[in-house]
């Protein structure tokens, strides 16, 4: 199957033409300023070398990074455009797996992520975080390195025998080989082949804190908060089910995307997660005696309270007279809430479906990709219990993780 491989994730643009895993021709462009890199000219020359025409191509393979964002995007946009025009598929590989495959042995691959941070792949694990933290993941007496920072790793690991593979970046021949059996994507589907960044699910939540186990958040609070503030949609584990979160001050854009992922019409009346009762009061919520009792008994925990809005409220609550709030029993999520302020969080599922137990299943079910996905291992599928405290007497409106009898016990004797 005649395949064009496009590799633009390094300062050297390289292209190859192959049939299956057999390389027919390669060309590369080095030492040219980024804006003057003529990728289409490079490909035209490549096809001429091998005696083929564009119409002969049957698929396009492209490296989706991580790498220089604009350069990767150039390659991805070109590959998508060419494949769309020819009516053929796009196959993708990431630059870390390409370097690992090129090395042909267990290897630590690194890519500069800027600001002292790196993208990495060690064995099968994808990593993102400070370089030193990634290097510290090496637990063996010897390691082979590829990509950026090869010399730095040796300095950071004085007791480890570091073997330099000499591989500085991905190459198009490996791209052909690695993608030969992959299923092609439809380039007109949104984000069919999009450049990878640290917010891609591949890296999200696999930072320096991860210890290789499943039930680890790993994502750092600052990064999660930054993505939320930037208008990102974040998939995160809560103390009940997996949730989709957006920052309420980020506007309707992220809300629209969140509901698109759930295939539900947009609503601004999402439950609000808060770090503590004070944050709820800060939203203008009225906390009656019944709610105080329930909070004392079940907060933090799987209980959502509907409360009246009476005090001065932030602008994003304009027009609302009631909100649903909950304090989750999850240390990491509480850290995020303290740093970001209250967040809009709803269950991560398609409309009418249950929330799956694991991050992978959730991502497979959702109609779109969150900007950041945090892996918390398997989670419950039962949501929180909802009690409406904005009525003359509190009413249990949804029975979830807290049984209705427990609510009744706590409320017994409470005056509304």
């Amino acid at each position: 199957m005649l395949t064009l491989a496009v590799e633009t994730s390094t300062s050297t643009f390289a292209v190859a033409l192959g049939d299956g895993e057999r390389v027919l021709a390669t060309r590369e462009l080095a030492g040219v300023a980024p804006r003057d890199r003529d990728l289409p000219g490079l490909v035209t020359g490549l096809l001429a070398d091998a005696g083929y025409a564009f119409a002969d191509l049957l698929r396009v393979a492209v490296d989706v990074g991580p790498g220089n964002l604009t350069a990767v995007r150039t390659g991805v946009a070109y590959a998508n455009g060419l494949a769309f025009a020819l009516g053929i598929g796009v196959v993708t590989a990431d630059s870390l797996e390409l370097m690992a495959a090129r090395a042909g042995q267990p290897v630590l691959c690194l890519r500069n992520a800027g600001g002292g941070a790196a993208y990495g792949r060690l064995g099968p694990d994808y990593l993102h975080g400070p370089l030193a933290a990634l290097a510290a993941r090496v637990r063996t007496g010897a390691v082979a390195v590829a990509g950026d920072f090869r010399a730095e790793v040796a300095r950071l690991l004085p007791g480890v025998l570091v073997e330099d593979t000499g591989i500085a970046g991905p190459d198009p021949a490996t791209l052909l080989r690695l993608t030969a059996d992959r299923t092609p994507l439809d380039p007109t589907r949104e984000r069919a082949a999009a450049p990878l960044t640290e917010t891609s699910p591949l890296f999200a939540g696999r930072g320096e804190a991860g210890e290789g186990g499943a039930a680890v958040h790993g994502g750092d609070v600052e990064k999660v908060v930054a993505v939320l503030r930037d208008g990102g949609v974040v998939l995160l584990p809560t103390d009940t089910v997996y949730g989709l979160a957006v920052h309420p001050e980020a506007g309707d854009g992220p809300l629209g995307r969140l509901f698109a992922m759930k295939r539900r019409p947009l609503s601004r009346n999402l439950p609000i997660m808060v770090a503590d009762a004070d944050q709820a009061r800060g939203l203008g919520a009225q906390v009656p005696a019944s709610a105080e009792k329930l909070l004392a008994a079940f907060s933090p925990g799987p209980l959502t309270l509907a409360l009246g809005l009476t005090g001065p409220a932030p602008a994003w609550l304009a027009g609302r007279d009631e909100i649903a709030v909950r304090v989750p029993d999850d240390a990491f999520l509480l850290d995020v809430l303290r740093a970001a302020g209250p967040l809009l969080v709803t269950s991560a599922n398609l409309s009418g479906h249950d929330t799956p137990e694991t991050m992978g299943e959730v991502l497979a079910q959702l109609a779109g990709q969150p900007d950041l996905a945090l892996d918390g291992g398997p989670r419950q599928t039962v949501p929180s219990t909802l009690v409406n405290c904005n009525l003359p007497a509190p009413v249990v409106e949804r029975v979830g993780a807290v049984p209705a009898e427990r609510i009744a016990e706590v409320l017994e004797g409470t005056q509304p």
Binding site: P40, L69, R73, A77, N80, G81, L82, E190, A194, G231
Partner: protein, 330 residues
């Protein structure tokens, strides 16, 4: 061969694609706007813009082709904005366009975004008679130019600092009106009175513009008088902008014979500007040409129409992103 050009525009925050005939007939057009995405920043956030372009561009191209039923392999050319604009956004447009062009075996031309704006008044029907004086007022640009024919442009004056659209956006932010600020400022201004005497920068001075001082004056005024009615502040700001824009147009029309005054760019949507320009043209005895609102903001159709001028003039710049580009260059 169909006599059609596919125009692609991704220089800022809209992904826009259109099929355009030589006479400006728009066979199909589609725009994916990112306004909602950028609202919270009070401006365009480049990385998010690039990401959105790569998501939207092929679905937008497909929509235009599906709507029209046109076989793209018969296109006369693809015209894609090469600049000026945000580098990341431009790169997505030009890279996708050259991929499409190679796949369909259709030539791809890199088009000057500003020339697209200048031609937007002739989309769907011919509205411009030459020679014409053209005012381009948008978020990124403020120019006065003279066109003796669609391919021949002389720059008469431009802003020495901020564009008028930028000043609108910044004043909108000061007044808490969000992004994009132009329509919001105009709406609020319509309910107030221009009672505050903001400066009219360079009013009596040639054909260049300056809006930075006006913007700062509004900022200082709001700091000193935080309780001033926002509608009156907006009305006073708009009045200052309009007086300057109209004075420059009047001066340009007086200097050289023009058949018509053409106003293009996002700020051309301003009802106040449309009204003031109408009065000016009536008194100066020239025709006023305004593109319909949908063509006054960034769009692929204007790029498509400008591409026809390139072909007529034998110009074929490569589709390479060029962040800064003069209005006179192809």
């Amino acid at each position: 061969m169909t006599d059609l050009i596919l125009g692609i525009e991704t220089s800022c925050d809209d992904t826009s694609v259109a099929l355009v005939e030589r006479d400006g007939t728009v066979v199909a057009a589609s725009t994916a706007s990112q306004a909602a995405l950028h609202t919270r920043y009070g401006g365009v956030y480049p990385e998010m813009a690039s990401r959105a372009h790569i998501d939207k561009i092929l679905p937008t191209v497909r929509m235009v082709l599906d709507d029209s039923g046109v076989d793209p392999r018969g296109l006369r050319a693809i015209g894609v904005t090469r600049g000026p604009g945000l580098i990341g956004s431009l790169m997505v447009g030009v890279s996708t366009a050259v991929g499409l062009g190679q796949g369909w075996d259709v030539p791809v031309l890199g088009i000057n975004h500003l020339r697209g704006h200048l031609r937007s008044a002739d989309l769907e029907e011919r509205r411009v008679d030459y020679p014409a004086t053209i005012l381009l007022v948008s978020g990124g640009h403020t120019f006065l130019a003279r066109m003796t024919d669609p391919g021949t442009i002389t720059l008469l004056g431009s802003t020495v600092d901020d564009s008028v659209g930028e000043a609108y956006d910044k004043v909108a932010r000061m007044l808490g009106l969000g992004y994009p600020g132009g329509p919001a400022v105009d709406r609020l201004a319509a309910t107030g009175s221009p009672v505050f005497p903001f400066p009219r920068p360079m009013l009596r001075d040639g054909l260049d513009f300056s809006f930075s001082g006006l913007k700062s004056a509004v900022e200082r005024f709001l700091a000193a008088e935080p309780d001033a009615p926002p509608a009156d502040v907006a009305a006073s700001f708009v009045a200052a902008c309009l007086e300057v824009l109209v004075a420059k147009c009047r001066r340009a029309l007086a200097a050289d014979r023009s058949e018509c005054l053409v106003i293009v760019g996002g700020v051309a949507a301003s009802p106040q500007l449309r009204e003031a320009a109408g009065e000016l043209c009536a008194s100066a005895g020239v025709r006023l040409s305004l593109p319909p609102l949908r063509w006054s903001t960034d769009n692929g159709a204007m790029i498509g129409l400008a591409t026809w001028d390139y072909l007529a003039n034998g110009q074929a710049p490569p589709a390479l992103a060029t962040t800064s580009l003069s209005i006179e260059s192809f």
